[in-house]
Symmetry: C2
Subunit: 192 residues, 2 copies
DNA sequence: TTCATTCTTGACATCATCGTCAATGTTGAC
DNA sequence: GTCAACATTGACGATGATGTCAAGAATGAA
């Protein structure tokens, strides 16, 4: 290989992820990415083609990390404790940073109408994988519920997490989100 | 009055609402508004100042209509039936149109980071008024729950509605949203 | 009828972003 | 050491959005 790339690709994608997380796919510009990474616009176009290609890589990295963390949290302790840990994790995830960055998946989902099929697929992929993780975790209580019930409830839980992400954007504090999550868990926990 | 305005303001705002609902505050341009209303850009600037001023008027119209519909749905029948009607109403609201327009409030909330304080206040206003409506509706069951409990649960319900709006954007069908809403209601209905 | 007031219109300057490209390095292969 | 292959750079033209403005048109008041 000659004419070797001058930058660290992993570091660049990580930096790009931070930019996208703070500004969103739509609002982040190639100039933003160039400024944050220290790599010129022309080089980015040469290396990746366009903004969306960079986003897809960054989003994939984010999704893996997020789903791994979700799986770990859900697997800690009994299903009820797992759920509590899981909600703690995602609330921290969306309220971290100053100002808080919110939830990347949710923000991206809301841009659905102006995003490509590729982007939409990634969002759906994260949500459906999350749903499966949750379904497994709450379905682990044997003989207390049908698989169909567990799956339906898992989707309700995923939906509620998306709601938390919106509430965060609307200005609700970490404490308020935690209180709602606790109330939610208590309300459905009879079924867990 | 001389040099009289050539267009019907109410009709213009209604048309603008449709544009904002389909494209979002951020994506809709003055050109979009001009094309949809048949009023030149220059006239719009002259009459309203800027895009956000038009949005605020349109959003206010939307909010009143939405909250009125929510209140009516919630007040129909006992609290449980009211909740079911309410969820039916908001799911229809966000899945109407081709393509579906989604939930304007949620979409606007996600633009929080790039919106003005005025816009953020409107979003918070809708959510908190909705929370109050729900709190009243489910708190109407006397002596079965403290007011604090009803308020917490009301916020959980509002949060869940926001989650439904995100799921709609992610591609879930009206039928799927209805199923989740039903499962959610059944899970919390022991408390209603 | 006249006129002052206001709205309307189309053009203008500005700005930010996009995607491309030719020129210019730089590096590993031979 | 030479050179082909690739990356980098800065500039370019195109596009679309913004906000402003001067000139023209329309209308109610006097």
């Amino acid at each position: 290989m000659v004419g070797v790339r001058q930058f660290d690709e992993d570091a660049l994608i990580a930096t790009a992820l931070d930019v996208f997380w703070r500004k969103g796919l739509h609002d982040a510009t190639m100039q933003d990415l160039a400024a944050a990474t220290g790599v010129q616009r022309g080089s980015l176009y040469n290396a990746y083609g366009d903004k969306e290609a960079i986003f897809l890589r960054a989003f994939d990295q984010y999704a893996e990390q997020f789903l791994h963390a979700a799986g770990s949290a859900l697997a800690s302790g009994d299903p009820a404790a797992g759920l509590r840990n899981f909600f703690d994790m995602i609330i921290v995830n969306m309220t971290e940073g100053a100002p808080a960055r919110g939830c990347l998946t949710t923000r991206t989902a809301l841009d659905a109408a102006i995003s490509s099929e590729d982007v939409r697929r990634r969002v759906q992929g994260v949500l459906s994988r999350l749903e499966q993780l949750i379904g497994k975790a709450i379905g682990a209580v044997p003989a207390r519920r049908s698989v169909a019930d567990a799956n339906r409830l898992a989707r309700v839980i995923v939906t509620f997490t998306r709601g938390l992400a919106v509430m965060e954007r609307a200005g609700y504090s970490r404490k308020q989100l935690r209180e709602s999550a606790t109330t939610f868990i208590d309300a459905v926990i009879g079924d867990v």
